[in-house]
């Protein structure tokens, strides 16, 4: 018996309206991401990658079609239901980290836990665990301005995983980083996928980043091309592509 996909996008159409003009960003798009997969979405600017990511993350709604993530049809949820759903089931990693500058690293990581019923001690303990996972336990009480770009992104990843979501969506997580830091972040995502079993959907322009994913999908003018590659754990470990 096969497990249901972590992300199931079916016949999604997304249309933006600018004045009287309709802009079709996604046109009948379907995508299935099995649980525990690491998928990279690539494509030129304006192809609809980020829009698709936003739909999967539940921060935008499709014009038509359905988006089922972790067993919930997020396209059918109300605004407030979506907020609650996001806080429990999805972790979001931004290109520019988007940490709250007045909060320390651990306070930033703790933020999503404020929406839970956990007590302060438990929240702190979980935030520290998340920081330990990303290797920044010793920087817990540093402010974002006291961290490098790579460290900031690792704190953002800790924030994304602190609630133990089923799905992590990352919007060009290495786009603002130097090669070394980018490599560290990709290695971390790899760990989250392999060791912690997180389903990751990542938008990227960087072929090297995409190469770390198991599945690479290309978007062109709102339409997905077929999978251009699949690297399972074994093949990636050996550096081969099937």
């Amino acid at each position: 018996m096969t497990s249901p996909p972590a992300v199931l996008v079916e016949g999604v159409r997304k249309v933006y309206r600018r004045d009287s003009q309709e802009i079709v960003v996604l046109d009948g798009l379907s995508l299935s991401v099995p649980a525990g997969e690491f998928v990279a979405l690539m494509g030129p600017s304006g192809s609809g990658k980020t829009t698709l990511l936003n739909l999967i993350a539940g921060i935008d709604q499709p014009t038509s079609g359905s988006v089922v993530v972790a067993g919930t049809d997020v396209s059918a949820l109300s605004e407030s239901e979506l907020s609650t759903w996001r806080s429990r089931h999805v972790g979001f990693i931004f290109q520019f980290y988007n940490l709250i500058p007045v909060l320390t690293a651990i306070e930033n990581v703790e933020l999503p836990l404020l929406l839970t019923d956990l007590g302060r001690k438990e929240r702190r303990a979980r935030a520290m665990t998340a920081l330990r996972v990303v290797g920044l336990e010793d920087r817990a009480f540093h402010y974002p301005r006291q961290l490098s770009g790579g460290q900031e992104q690792r704190v953002a990843i800790a924030r994304a995983i602190v609630t133990d979501p089923a799905v992590i969506v990352a919007d060009e997580p290495t786009g603002d980083l130097d090669a070394k830091s980018a490599e560290d972040i990709l290695a971390l995502l790899d760990v989250l996928n392999r060791q912690f079993g997180k389903t990751i959907v990542m938008v990227t322009h960087d072929p090297r980043a995409a190469a770390r994913a198991h599945i690479e999908r290309h978007l062109e003018k709102g339409v997905l091309s077929h999978s251009v590659g699949r690297h399972d754990a074994t093949s990636q470990a050996t550096g081969t592509r099937p």
């Binding site: 935008d60 605004e79 988007n98 933020l111 999503p112």
Partner: protein, 395 residues
């Protein structure tokens, strides 16, 4: 409560802006508190007027005097029990320098009828007898005695700034009595005053000094209007017509010499409050505009629009409550020390002891909170409505 550190940290983010906003709002609260306290004291002073006392003055203005001979004619009006001349002397310490810094209210009165109709001035009988017997004698309030360290027997020199009472040299007085008041029974009694013999003034000015006011005690307060009309009718066909009114109206008229203070002071308070509302609203809007991306991030993390709005409202509430407390504290400090401020203290000493009432203090903190919440409403609503995708795209 778990969101409190988040709210407080944001307020510390731009401490200069936060502190200037708090200061602005606090000054507004301080100003309104102080003005309302003064208005309240003036109102208490008016309310403390006795119903059986009338005041007769020159029909044209308080600044003109009436002939002394009117006393006997007023006394003859049916319903009148006793009549006492009362002249505001305007005496200042220091012979020629006109030392307004140490100004206190001083009046020439006819001791017998005056103290009989003003039981609130409690002078020990022996001291009252000494005062009545000494033409240069004076009685002073306990607060005045305390302020200058005067005791019975102290010599005091005053020179008036009112031209008819200036005789080329200071008037010399000897303190013969010190009065106090039952503040519970007569809450409006001012103990920063001095009373001396009208005869001393009258004779020293070679009988040129007329009478500023005749204080009239009547037998039946319900007949006040009729007696007042009868007094004024008595002088209707003379050169110096009179205007007689209840003591409360008289005090109100005296206060209104400075204009319609109630409207003026309330107007100032309203204008300041409105200005502060706009300034605070602008500050809150700026603070929220700067954090548009942050708001989108919070929503992405699962914070509902309502919760985000609550956080911004919370910031406004903390800011305005702090301003309210600071403003009330400053006002309390000023009000309790107002007597020490030269001239202003003496001028306001005409009124009951100034105190910032707990009701006003609570009301002003609530007003500050209300202003803050009102100011935070628009930015909070904008944050509520902000769509994550649009905001992140615009960032």
């Amino acid at each position: 409560m778990k969101f409190a550190p988040y709210v407080l940290k944001h307020l510390r983010r731009n401490w200069l802006r936060t502190s200037s906003t708090v200061t602005g709002m606090a000054l507004c609260v301080f100003l309104i508190c102080t003005l309302q306290t003064i208005l309240g004291a003036m109102d208490a002073n008016i309310r403390s007027a006795a119903a059986d006392r009338l005041a007769t003055r020159h029909a044209v203005s308080l600044v003109f005097n009436m002939p002394y001979s009117y006393a006997a004619r007023i006394r003859a009006v049916p319903g009148v029990v006793r009549v006492a001349p009362l002249n505001f002397f305007g005496g200042l310490m220091g012979s020629s320098s006109q030392d307004f810094a140490n100004f206190f209210a001083n009046f020439a009165v006819d001791p017998g009828p005056f103290f009989e109709m003003y039981p609130e001035y409690n002078v020990p009988p022996a001291q009252m007898a000494d005062f009545v017997a000494d033409r240069r004698g004076a009685v002073i309030g306990q607060d005045l005695a305390d302020k200058y360290g005067w005791t019975v027997g102290s010599a005091v020199q005053l020179e008036s700034f009112i031209p008819p009472y200036r005789v080329g040299r200071p008037f010399e007085f000897v303190v013969r009595g010190i009065f106090d008041a039952d503040r519970v029974r007569y809450p409006g009694t001012n103990e920063m005053q001095m009373f001396f013999h009208f005869d001393y003034l009258y004779e020293s000015t070679r009988r040129r000094a007329g009478v500023g006011n005749f204080m009239v005690q009547i037998a039946d307060p319900t007949q006040a209007a009729a007696v007042a009309k009868a007094i004024d009718d008595t002088f209707e066909n003379t050169d110096v017509q009179t205007r007689t009114e209840s003591e409360a109206s008289f005090r109100q008229g005296f206060a209104e010499l400075a204009g319609n203070l109630v409207v003026l002071l309330n107007g100032i308070g309203l204008a300041v409050a409105f200005t502060v509302l706009l300034v605070t609203a602008n500050t809150m809007s700026m603070a929220v505009r700067e954090r548009r991306t942050e708001i989108a991030v919070l929503k992405t993390l699962g914070f509902s629009s309502r919760r985000v709005m609550g956080l911004i409202i919370g910031e406004a509430a903390v800011l305005s409550a702090a301003a309210g407390v600071v403003g009330v504290g400053l006002a309390s400090l000023l009000v309790s020390n107002i007597a020490k401020i030269p001239f202003l203290g003496a001028a306001l000493g005409q009124f009951p002891p100034l105190e910032l009432s707990p009701r006003l203090a609570t009301g002003m903190v609530a007003l500050s909170l209300g202003l803050g919440l009102l100011a935070g409403t628009v930015p909070a609503w904008n944050a509520y409505r902000a769509r994550i995708v649009d905001t992140l795209r615009a960032a």
